[in-house]
């Protein structure tokens, strides 16, 4: 990864902007050239589009019951078959993206919005602020993530927004530590010293000079974290602590299909494939970004 280094002069600092652009262009090209990341991005795009356009493309209403047509296998009229209440599984899988994906993305965004500023403060202020923040992250990291999320759900009650909050809390300490590490790496670099010398205030140094240079590991972490968030959101629904029936959420659908597995394999198979596809897509993008930004840690 190329770093922008500038001498201690105002003109050099102005050139910083253009340097940043060229830094961004190289890796972006590499990401686009990375076939796996491209495949991941396309899968995400298709599933997100399907979720947005669900009312237009879903063959049936996902909540309309037809008890006369329950537990049918895949056929021309129901490509993925029907569930125990005769609802069209394909339509439910398409609609499922409307719950799982936004709830998971909200979790990632909440974690970023809290984790990044706290990590910046921790790494830049150091001293007491840093010690306290680090001990708090230690405490949160002491809980296995799904158990922490379950405990939060038990306290706050089961709503869609509490799922996002619960999943976010489990990943906040990861962002805090990551960002703090980046700040520590960058805070004594020449270009930061230079900015400090010409009297730039802390806020500008942090947000204009340190954050943009430490952005790539944050983006990589966010995309890998999105994969994990989708797994955890659907897991919470699966154990009954997330989206509730009759909601067409993938994890909830799996839980629903469990009792009829012996007679209808399709009800559990297809929502699982949907989760798997989105998760692998985010993992592919994350891995691709990491390969592009940090060739040392190549994963495949």
């Amino acid at each position: 990864m190329s770093e922008t280094r500038t001498g201690p002069s105002a003109t050099a600092l102005q050139a910083f902007g253009s340097g940043r652009m060229s830094r961004g262009r190289g890796p972006l090209k590499r990401v686009l050239r990375n076939r796996a990341a491209g495949v991941g991005a396309v899968i995400i795009l298709i599933i997100v589009l399907a979720a947005i356009l669900a009312p237009l493309i879903a063959p049936d209403n996902p909540y309309t019951q037809d008890l006369g047509a329950s537990l049918q296998g895949p056929s021309a009229s129901h490509l993925f078959g029907t569930d125990s209440l005769g609802r069209d599984v394909l339509s439910r899988v398409i609609y499922g993206g409307r719950i799982t994906i936004p709830v998971s993305m909200a979790a990632v965004i909440i974690a970023l919005l809290i984790g990044v500023p706290v990590g910046l403060a921790s790494g830049y202020r150091l001293g007491w602020t840093d010690s306290i923040i680090m001990r708090l992250t230690d405490i949160l990291l002491a809980f296995p993530s799904l158990l922490l999320a379950m405990a939060i759900m038990a306290s706050l009650g089961v709503h869609l927004w509490t799922i996002s909050v619960a999943i976010a809390v489990t990943s906040i300490p990861i962002y805090v530590r990551l960002v703090r590490g980046e700040v520590l790496r960058l805070r004594d670099r020449e270009f930061v010293e230079a900015a400090r010398c010409i009297g730039v205030d802390d806020r500008t140094i942090i947000f204009r000079h340190i954050l943009p240079n430490g952005l790539s590991p944050i983006i990589i972490q966010a995309s890998l974290n999105a994969a994990l968030a989708i797994l955890n959101v659907s897991a919470l629904s699966f154990i009954g602590l997330g989206a509730q029936p009759p909601s067409a959420e993938w994890g909830a659908m799996l839980a629903d299909g469990r009792s009829v597995m012996q007679v209808a394999w399709n009800v559990t198979t297809f929502p699982g494939i949907a989760i798997f596809l989105v998760v692998i897509a985010f993992n592919l993008v994350g891995d691709g970004l990491r390969d592009a930004y940090d060739p040392r840690s190549r994963s495949s």
């Binding site: 002491a142 158990l147 038990a154 798997f276 993992n283 495949s300």
Partner: protein, 306 residues
């Protein structure tokens, strides 16, 4: 080493203290009256009051915390709101069931994960490496509980080879162990591959090769030893992942462990059980990681001095 061990143990104290405070606060973070929540919507005011008395909710917060900590240091986690048995006696047998399953899954994940990682790294960019890398990615992306359901569908319901539910003989272990270990296995495989590749490019490995040592000797004597240090950390962290995954695996396979029990207890609003279970798993996780860190200090003496 003694000083290092002591220092690490002392560092645990504030973490465990923080964990206990968070677990204590769980009940108090609930919106509304926790006693009413636990008693349920159909409870009479007398029943709600009984629960309030039982959980000591009438005392001021600092006194509640004092009693809670006082009981905790004596190994008393309170009593179940539903069965009125002590939380410790409810959790103990289930904890053993979870430990058995997680232990089996960990062993499987480490053996298979490391083997695959080593095969991948020694044949970088070969077909085998590519196949294993894709498999590892699949392992990281498959929802464990879904895999469990698919395994039941195929090997229990269709072929009838393994039991679909419950805890018993060796055959009961097969499907849940595979289900639970998959994510950890993939993580260990990736980490082993990456770490070994790093080491294989180091000067001292080149030097060993240049001396004319056989490739397998270089791998075993020189490379693996150093490559496995970061893998150890990942294995320690996977314990947390296994304890999380156990909740799902136990639900799918009706395994009478702590994870499934916690899910049931949350549904039954049995807060003392939930608090005790979460506290216990967090303590286990922290202690396992301490042990890993200490082993780390033995394997790599450089760590003790930094």
């Amino acid at each position: 080493m003694v000083a290092y061990t002591l220092r690490r143990i002392i560092m645990l104290v504030p973490i465990l203290f923080g964990v206990s405070v968070l677990v204590f606060m769980m009940l108090h973070l609930t919106p509304g009256d926790p006693a009413r929540l636990i008693a349920g919507p159909t409870a009479t005011p007398e029943q709600v009051d009984e629960i309030r008395t039982m959980l000591g909710l009438k005392e001021p917060l600092y006194e509640q915390y004092y009693h809670y900590m006082n009981r905790l240091v004596h190994g008393d986690l309170g009593q179940s709101v539903i069965t009125h048995d002590s939380v410790t006696s409810e959790l103990a047998p289930r904890f053993i069931a979870t430990a058995e399953l997680s232990g089996a899954a960990m062993v499987l994940a480490v053996i298979v994960g490391m083997t695959f990682g080593i095969i991948s790294a020694t044949r970088q960019y070969s077909i085998v490496d590519n196949v294993l890398s894709v498999l590892a990615l699949f392992g990281l992306s498959t929802p464990a509980y879904w895999l469990g359901l698919m395994l039941i569908l195929l090997f229990s319901l269709h072929f009838g080879w393994f039991p679909a539910a419950g805890r018993g003989g060796l055959s009961h272990f097969v499907l849940p162990t595979i289900t639970l270990s998959l994510f950890a296995m993939a993580t260990v495989a990736r980490m082993t591959r990456g770490s070994l590749l790093d080491v294989l490019n180091q000067d001292y490995v080149q030097a060993a090769r240049a001396k004319g040592l056989s490739e397998s000797f270089v791998l075993i004597r020189h490379a693996l030893k150093n490559a496995l240090i970061p893998v150890m950390t990942v294995v320690g962290l996977q314990v947390g992942q296994l304890l999380s995954g156990a909740v799902l695996t136990e639900t799918v396979f009706s395994w009478p462990g702590i994870g499934r029990f916690l899910v049931d207890s949350i549904e039954a609003r049995d807060f003392p059980i939930v608090q005790g279970g979460v506290l216990l798993t967090a303590v286990v996780f922290v202690v396992v990681n301490l042990i890993v860190d200490l082993l780390y200090g033995i394997v790599d003496p450089r760590i003790r001095y930094s």
